[in-house]
Symmetry: C2
């Protein structure tokens, strides 16, 4: 059997309270006893049960992370960054891929509730916001990562998508482009915002983006191919394409190549996210980088704060600026 606090106490000739105190560095303990106890712990290889500790009303030191799909490189990187920052502060992460399914969303939330996680980070566009509102009512610290919902007053940490779109547009303009197409990620608020920012930049330059140059796609290979073909088939082909995610951009580049359209010679491409796809693409994909690591840092920080001081201030919105990563997929027309 796994040794318990009693085993340590008995062997060290002290009470379990004393052991608890040396484990947690609380209360008054003489140096002598402390070292004695520590010695015994080593000796019998004692490892305190955080399950029992959690029951005593303390934290579980666990947070749930809901992503749509961990197999998507962007979310994998997000999860990785969150995991890192959580670990630094002693927290573990329970991974939940919702697959954009309402059922899984609910199932996982129920699980997290039962497990008494100390907080939940939501990085998936919810299917059913009601369920999440319920969580707020229950006073579970919540944080929205990289997503946003107007009617929701929890903490939010996200990339400034509008600004990201603007950045992309501005960059293409600066490089002399005047004809654009956009592949927007369907059904996602962030996709909408990126488009909005992009349009804004064009407007500032007195250019209007016609609807026929905006096509929708999910961030999946098959759908991205369709979207790419659609754009390549346009009779007055644009000189540049802004893709809502690197994956879509990468697929577009391949389709273009297959159609004997060279990048960036014939058409320039700019992506979003700065995932491994951008790095691996040929030519290297110029893209808008989300500050994943920093987002994660803020997210964990903010969440821990609302764990530590419950019902303190209402939801902050932290919006970090994206950054343009210049590679070789955009041609300078000037």
């Amino acid at each position: 059997m796994k040794p318990t606090i009693y085993d340590v106490a008995k062997k060290a000739g002290v009470s379990i309270a004393t052991v608890s105190k040396v484990v947690n560095n609380t209360g008054r303990i003489s140096e002598k006893t402390r070292s004695r106890v520590k010695e015994v712990m080593k000796e019998i290889d004692y490892s305190p049960s955080s399950v029992a500790a959690a029951l005593t009303g303390k934290r579980t030191f666990t947070i749930g992370v809901l992503v749509p799909d961990i197999a998507n490189p962007f979310f994998a990187e997000v999860a990785r960054a969150l995991e890192n920052h959580a670990r630094m502060t002693g927290y573990a992460i329970i991974l939940c891929s919702t697959d954009y399914q309402r059922e899984r969303e609910q199932d996982y939330l129920e699980l997290l509730l039962k497990k008494q996680v100390d907080g939940i980070i939501i990085a998936t566009e919810a299917r059913d916001w009601k369920v999440f509102k319920k969580l707020l009512d229950k006073n579970i610290p919540l944080l929205m990562f990289s997503i946003d919902h107007p009617s929701f007053s929890s903490h939010v940490v996200t990339t400034d998508d509008i600004r990201g779109g603007y950045l992309a547009g501005r960059y293409l303009l600066d490089n002399g482009h005047r004809n654009f197409a956009v592949i927007v990620e369907e059904n996602r608020e962030s996709g909408r915002l990126r488009l909005e920012g992009f349009k804004q930049s064009l407007m500032d330059a007195g250019i209007e983006l016609s609807d026929s140059f905006v096509v929708f796609s999910k961030s999946r290979v098959e759908e991205a191919k369709k979207a790419a073909k659609q754009i390549l088939a346009l009779n007055n082909r644009p000189t540049s394409v802004f893709a809502a995610t690197d994956l879509i951009a990468a697929v577009f580049m391949n389709e273009a190549r297959k159609a004997n359209i060279s990048i960036p010679e014939d058409i320039s491409v700019i992506g979003f996210d700065n995932t491994i796809h951008a790095e691996i693409a040929d030519p290297g994909l110029t893209t808008i980088a989300q500050p994943t690591d920093e987002l994660a840092r803020y997210a964990i920080h903010q969440l821990l704060e609302s764990i530590e001081k419950p019902n303190s201030l209402p939801g902050h919105r932290i919006m970090l600026a994206p950054e343009l990563i210049e590679r070789d997929s955009v041609k300078n027309l000037n």
Copy 2:
């Protein structure tokens, strides 16, 4: 405060034992009381604490998954598959990226011990096997996923890497290739085995692979580039390259293109893993697919079995056959 079993019991006018029984579907309860209790649970929105349940000696219904880096697409897919199968059986997953660092390995194992996870899946080549052996001594169900270690007698679920390498070689041979180069993943047993299988297939055809055509690399963009260049600089260039991972293969393809070497016209490429990189590459990358989902299914199944019947049979080794996925990166020379 979160409602407890007492609140339900009081409101339903029964003892907490009764409530516990309806929650767990154990013991004898009349239909009448059962529905009454269920009603009350709904009413006050009761969700049993699995923390408390775990303390009573039952499971925590949590398993730890150690991967080197969740941001690596292969492991992301592995994690995803494991998560799915775990969830189906009621288990949650704690995500642990070790980053190949001994310190993180130990840190995470300690965490998992404290958290009393019911079992651990190790999908990372360990830095220090001693630590893992210790776990075995403690009777923590352990399972090695996609890795292997001769001196280790836990359960193992892995792809048959030798066979995978053999398949790749066989396929190239069948397509008329006689000159090969291999990019092997450094320091990984699986890499070694893939090479071994590959060599074996050549041997069966009476061909020997000279060492100068074997280069080593990690599965990272920068290193893969170097390896690719090294091969492209060979004076008697091979007609085909077997890359240890899809990422390496994809990078090789890009480097080749940059050097004006067309694929598969001038040189054929075959990868390993069948990750998104293979799908996205242009031309589509022919590769050896690991049966990720099936591996995950077996892994979870096997692990749960040793959780349910502790110290039952010693470590099984389940080795699933990889499969060749034909795309367009290999030219038929016949």
